[in-house]
C-alpha cells in the first residue's frame, strides 16, 4: 500500500511516480470501461465480478509455469480461467437446475479460494500477495523499466497491449457485438453467432481483469468494469456515445483518484472506486435524461401546470354561474388543494396575466378566459363522449374528465366535437364553450 503522503503534487522528486501511477490507472480504467459497457448492457455485470475473482488461479498457475508476469502466459491463464468460469457456470446451471447467479456464485468463490490456497502454497515463488490481489497495489508501478529514455512502470507492458487488444477487438467486432447485445435472436437469424460473441467478450473481460487486478485489485476491477458504463448509460442513449462517455469517466476517475489518493495517503484503488461511485450517484441524480432530479423537476412542472389549469377552469365555472361574483384568493388556493404548489401556481398565473387580483378577489383576464374556455370545453366534450359512446352513468364522468382535460390536444378535441351534434350540451346540461 501507499506509504508516501505527497504534500506538493508538483514536487519534482515525486512527480514521475505520481505520473506513472496515473498513467497506469488511466490505461486500466480505459480497458475496463470499454469492455464493461457491453457487460452492463447485457445485464451480465456480475460476470465481471465473477471473472475478476476467478482469474486468480489461472494467473497463479500461469505464473508458476512461466515464472514471469509477461503477457503471453497471462493471456493463456486468463483465457483458460475465463472459459472455465463461463463453462462451469453453464454446466451447473444446466445440470444442477441452479439459477445462473447461484451457479456463478459457487464457481467464482470456489475458484478464488483455489487461487488463494495456491498462492499460500507456492507464495514464496510467486511475488503476489493475496491481500494485494484483493485490494490492489499501485505501488507495484514503482518497479520500472527504461524504454528509450522514458522511465515507465513495468506493468505498462501488460496494460498497454491489453488496452490495444480491447480497442482492436471492439472496433473490428463493433457491429457484431452491438447486434448480439441488443437483439441476439436477430443476430442468430442473420448468421452472427451469439455464443461466439459471448465467449469473445468473456475472454476480453478475463484478460482485462488479469491486466488490471494487480494494479487496482479484483474488487476494484469490478468497480471500473461496471460503474463508469452504468453512469454513462444514465446519461446517453446511443451505444457509441455510451462507450466514449464511460471511457471518459474511467479516465477522469483514474486521474482524480490518483491525485486525491496520493495527496491524502489513501489507497488509490479504493479512492478510485469511491470516486466512481460518487460519479455514478451524481449521474443518477443529475442526469438530464433519466436523472432523479430531472424527473422530480419534470413532475413538479407538470403538477404546477395542472394546478394552474385547475384554477383557470374553476374561475371560469364561477363566472359562468354568476358573472359578478369574485372568489377570494385564499378560497381559490384552498379549492385546488392548497400548499406551496397552489400558491406558486397562482402567483405564476397573475404574473403571466391570466388572472388579475383586487380587493374583492380573483378575476380572469381575456386571455385567461380563452384558455379556461378551452379547458372547460375539453372537460365537457370528454364527459359527453364517455356518456354517449361508452355509456357511463352521468355521475361517473366528472372525475375522469377532470384528469384527462390537461392532456388532450387540439386534434383530439376536434375529433370529439365532430362526434357530437351541433350545439350539443354536456351530460349535466351545461353549454360546451367554443
Amino acid at each position: 500500500m501507499m506509504i508516501l503522503a505527497v504534500n506538493n503534487l508538483l514536487d519534482p522528486d515525486t512527480l514521475p511516480m505520481v505520473l506513472r501511477i496515473m498513467v497506469m490507472a488511466v490505461l486500466v480504467n480505459l480497458s475496463c470501461a470499454l469492455v464493461g459497457s457491453f457487460l452492463v448492457l447485457r445485464r451480465m455485470s456480475l460476470m465481471g465480478d465473477a471473472l475478476s475473482h476467478a482469474v486468480l488461479p489461472g494467473l497463479v498457475v500461469a505464473f508458476l509455469f512461466s515464472g514471469s508476469l509477461s503477457i503471453v502466459p497471462m493471456f493463456i491463464g486468463a483465457v483458460l480461467a475465463g472459459v472455465a468460469t463461463t463453462f462451469l457456470t453453464q454446466t451447473l446451471h444446466h445440470y444442477g437446475r441452479l439459477s445462473t447467479d447461484a451457479a456463478m456464485g459457487v464457481v467464482f468463490t470456489s475458484l478464488f479460494a483455489l487461487g488463494v490456497v495456491l498462492l499460500k502454497l507456492f507464495g514464496s515463488r510467486v511475488h503476489l500477495d493475496a491481500a494485494c490481489v484483493y485490494e490492489g497495489s499501485l505501488i507495484m508501478v514503482l518497479d520500472t523499466i527504461r524504454v528509450g529514455g522514458l522511465e515507465l512502470p513495468r506493468q505498462i507492458l501488460v496494460a498497454l497491449p491489453v488496452l490495444l487488444v480491447n480497442v482492436l477487438v471492439v472496433a473490428v467486432l463493433w457491429k457484431e457485438l452491438k447486434i448480439t447485445t441488443f437483439d441476439s435472436a436477430l443476430a442468430t437469424a442473420i448468421g452472427i453467432s451469439a455464443p461466439v460473441m459471448h465467449y469473445t467478450l468473456m475472454t476480453l473481460v478475463a484478460l482485462t481483469a488479469v491486466a488490471s487486478f494487480q494494479v487496482v485489485g479484483s474488487i476494484l476491477v469490478v468497480a471500473m468494469l461496471i460503474i463508469p458504463p452504468a453512469a454513462a448509460q444514465l446519461c446517453v442513449e446511443r451505444l457509441g456515445r455510451m462507450v466514449l462517455l464511460s471511457c471518459l469517466i474511467g479516465a477522469l476517475v483514474g486521474v482524480l483518484g490518483t491525485l486525491i489518493a496520493v495527496r491524502y495517503d489513501l489507497s488509490p484503488p479504493g479512492t478510485m472506486a469511491v470516486l466512481a461511485g460518487s460519479i455514478y450517484a451524481l449521474a443518477a441524480i443529475f442526469s438530464p435524461t433519466g436523472g432523479l432530479a430531472a424527473r422530480a423537476w419534470f413532475n413538479y412542472q407538470t403538477s404546477a401546470r395542472i394546478v394552474r389549469e385547475d384554477i383557470l377552469a374553476m374561475l371560469y365555472r364561477v363566472e359562468e354561474y354568476d358573472r359578478s361574483r369574485k372568489i377570494a384568493r385564499a378560497d381559490a388556493i384552498e379549492a385546488v388543494g392548497g400548499g406551496f404548489t397552489a400558491r406558486h401556481a397562482l402567483r405564476t398565473l397573475v404574473r403571466r396575466g391570466g388572472v388579475t387580483r383586487d380587493e374583492g378577489g380573483l378575476m380572469l383576464t381575456d386571455s385567461g378566459r380563452a384558455q379556461a374556455a378551452q379547458l372547460v370545453r375539453t372537460h365537457r366534450l370528454w364527459e359527453a363522449y364517455l356518456v354517449d359512446e361508452l355509456g357511463l352513468p352521468v355521475d361517473h364522468v366528472h372525475e375522469p374528465a377532470h384528469r384527462v382535460e390537461h392532456f388532450l390536444d387540439e386534434e383530439i378535441r376536434e375529433q370529439l366535437a365532430e362526434r357530437l351534434p351541433e350545439g350539443a350540451e354536456d351530460p349535466h346540461g351545461r353549454e360546451i364553450p367554443e
Partner: protein, 443 residues
C-alpha cells in the same frame, strides 16, 4: 472448528432461501459492503470485539441493500449492475478507511485485515456463544415462519396474491442473511462468506426437491465444509499430504476460509456426481440403460420383421441380412446380439440367430406397440403412412403397457383393428421390405 461448522450450518440454512429467491449474489454484495461498517465501527469504538464490529457491518450491509433497492427501483440501471456498483463502491470505501486506520499509529489494524481472508484463530469463546445464539435464533425463526417462507420461496406471486407482505418477508430473509454474513466475516473473510451462503444450498439442491430436506442437507453440507476446511487448515496437514515439500521451509498454515470454501466446492462436485436422480453418474447410467433398451428393442423388432411368418416357426436369420436390414456395423451387431443372448431372448447358431420363445413373446409385444402407435398416428394425426415409422420409433420404447392397451381398445372400438385375439400383432400400416434397411423410407 465447532464455530466453523456451526457457522457453515447456519449459512447453509439461510443461504437456501437466498438461493431459492434468486438472490444468491446478495450475500456477496453484503459481505463486501459491510467492510466500511467494520472499519468505521473500529474507528469509533477502538475495539475488536466481534459483536461491536458486527453491528457496524450490519448497518453498512443493510445500507448497501437499501442502495441497491433504490438504484434498481428509481434509475435505468439494472439490478445486477446496481449490485456491482454498491459492492465495489462500499468495498472501495472500506479499503480507503483501512488505509486511514493504518496511517494512524495507534490503530492496531492487523485484526481488521483478517476480515478480508478470515482468521479462525481469532475466534474466542464469547464469539462462539454469539454464533450459537444466532444459529438457534435462526432455527426458531425459520420454524415459526416455515409455511410463509416456503410459499415465498416457491411462488412469491401467489404469496402476494394471498395478501402476504412479501416485501417485508423478503426483507426479513435478507436481514437473516445479513446477520449470518457479518457474524461469519471474521472466520471466512469478506470474500468467501458469499460461498458459504451459496455453495451448501446449491449442493443440497442435487439431493432433494423438498424444502425441509433441502434446509437440513444444506446445513449438514455447510457444517461438513466447516469441519473439513478446519482440518485441512491445521498446521502440519499440508506437509502430511505431501504438498508442503514444494512450499517454503517453514510449515505453512493455510488460511481456513478458502479451505472451507474449497471443501464446500468439493462437496458440491461430489453431490453433482453421485446424487441419486440429479447426479451426473445417475444420469449417465439411466441414459445408458435407456440406450441399451432402445438398441435391444430395435434388434428384436428387426428379427421379427425379417421373419416371414414369425408366429409359426421362429426361423433362423443370417447375421449379414440382419446387419443390412438394420444398417448396423458388424461390431455393434455382435455386441448387441451377445448382450441379448445373455438375457435369454435369442439363440445363436453359427452365423445365424433366432428368437427363444421368450424373446419371441417380447418381440411381438414390441412390434404390437410399434404398429398400434403407427396406426394411431396415421389416423389420429392424419399423417401419411410413409412418415409414421420414425414417429413410432421415437415413442414406442417409452409407451407404458396401459397406453398400448388403451390404444388397442380405441382402435378396436372403431372397428379398424381386425378381429383378432388380444395379443396378436396387427399388420403394419406401411410396407415392410426385408430387402431394405429400416432407416430408408420405403417409396
Amino acid at each position: 472448528m465447532l464455530g466453523a461448522s456451526l457457522l457453515g450450518a447456519a449459512a447453509g440454512f439461510v443461504g437456501t432461501f437466498a438461493v431459492l429467491r434468486r438472490r444468491a449474489l446478495v450475500g456477496d454484495m453484503l459481505s463486501h459492503a459491510s467492510l466500511p461498517g467494520i472499519a468505521a465501527a473500529y474507528m469509533l469504538w477502538q475495539t475488536r470485539d466481534l459483536l461491536t464490529l458486527s453491528v457496524g457491518a450490519l448497518v453498512a450491509g443493510l445500507l448497501g441493500v437499501g442502495c441497491v433497492a433504490i438504484i434498481a427501483r428509481w434509475t435505468r440501471t439494472s439490478e445486477d449492475a446496481a449490485l456491482g456498483i454498491v459492492l465495489s463502491t462500499f468495498f472501495g470505501l472500506g479499503v480507503v478507511l483501512l488505509t486511514v486506520l493504518q496511517a494512524n499509529p495507534e490503530g492496531d489494524k492487523a485484526g481488521l485485515d483478517s476480515f478480508l481472508f478470515g482468521e479462525i484463530a481469532s475466534l474466542r469463546s464469547r464469539d462462539l456463544w454469539v454464533i450459537i445464539t444466532m444459529a438457534g435464533g435462526l432455527l426458531v425463526f425459520v420454524l415459526a415462519m416455515y409455511k410463509e417462507l416456503q410459499l415465498l420461496s416457491f411462488d412469491s406471486g401467489f404469496a402476494a396474491a394471498q395478501g402476504w407482505p412479501t416485501f417485508w418477508l423478503d426483507f426479513i430473509v435478507l436481514g437473516a442473511v445479513a446477520v449470518v454474513t457479518v457474524i461469519g466475516l471474521p472466520i471466512c473473510g469478506v470474500i468467501l462468506m458469499a460461498a458459504m451462503l451459496i455453495t451448501p444450498a446449491a449442493a443440497a439442491r442435487f439431493w432433494t426437491n423438498r424444502l425441509g430436506a433441502l434446509l437440513a442437507i444444506s446445513s449438514v453440507v455447510g457444517a461438513l465444509a466447516g469441519i473439513i476446511g478446519c482440518l485441512l487448515a491445521a498446521p502440519g496437514v499440508v506437509e502430511h499430504i505431501g504438498l508442503g515439500k514444494t512450499a517454503a521451509d517453514t510449515p505453512v498454515g493455510l488460511p481456513p476460509g478458502p479451505l472451507i470454501v474449497l471443501a464446500g466446492g468439493g462437496l458440491l462436485l461430489l453431490s453433482m456426481l453421485v446424487a441419486p436422480q440429479r447426479g451426473l453418474v445417475a444420469r449417465i447410467l439411466s441414459h445408458r440403460r435407456l440406450q441399451r433398451k432402445v438398441a435391444r428393442d430395435h434388434l428384436l423388432r428387426a428379427i421379427y420383421e425379417l421373419s416371414p411368418a414369425p408366429e409359426a416357426d421362429r426361423p433362423w436369420i443370417d447375421f449379414e441380412r440382419l446387419g443390412r436390414y438394420g444398417d448396423w456395423q458388424g461390431a455393434t451387431l455382435t455386441a448387441q446380439t451377445a448382450r441379448t443372448q445373455r438375457e435369454g431372448l435369442i439363440e445363436l447358431r453359427g452365423s445365424q440367430l433366432r428368437f427363444t420363445p421368450r424373446g419371441f413373446e417380447q418381440a411381438s409385444h414390441l412390434v404390437r406397440a410399434h404398429r398400434l402407435w403407427e396406426m394411431y398416428v396415421v389416423e389420429g394425426w392424419d399423417r401419411s403412412p410413409d412418415d409414421v415409422h420414425h414417429d413410432a420409433d421415437a415413442l414406442e420404447h417409452l409407451l407404458p403397457p396401459e397406453v398400448v392397451q388403451h390404444l388397442e381398445q380405441a382402435l378396436r372400438a372403431e372397428g379398424r383393428l381386425p378381429a383378432e385375439a388380444a395379443g396378436d400383432v396387427p399388420r403394419s400400416p406401411h410396407v415392410i421390405d426385408p430387402q431394405q434397411t429400416i432407416e430408408e423410407t420405403p417409396e
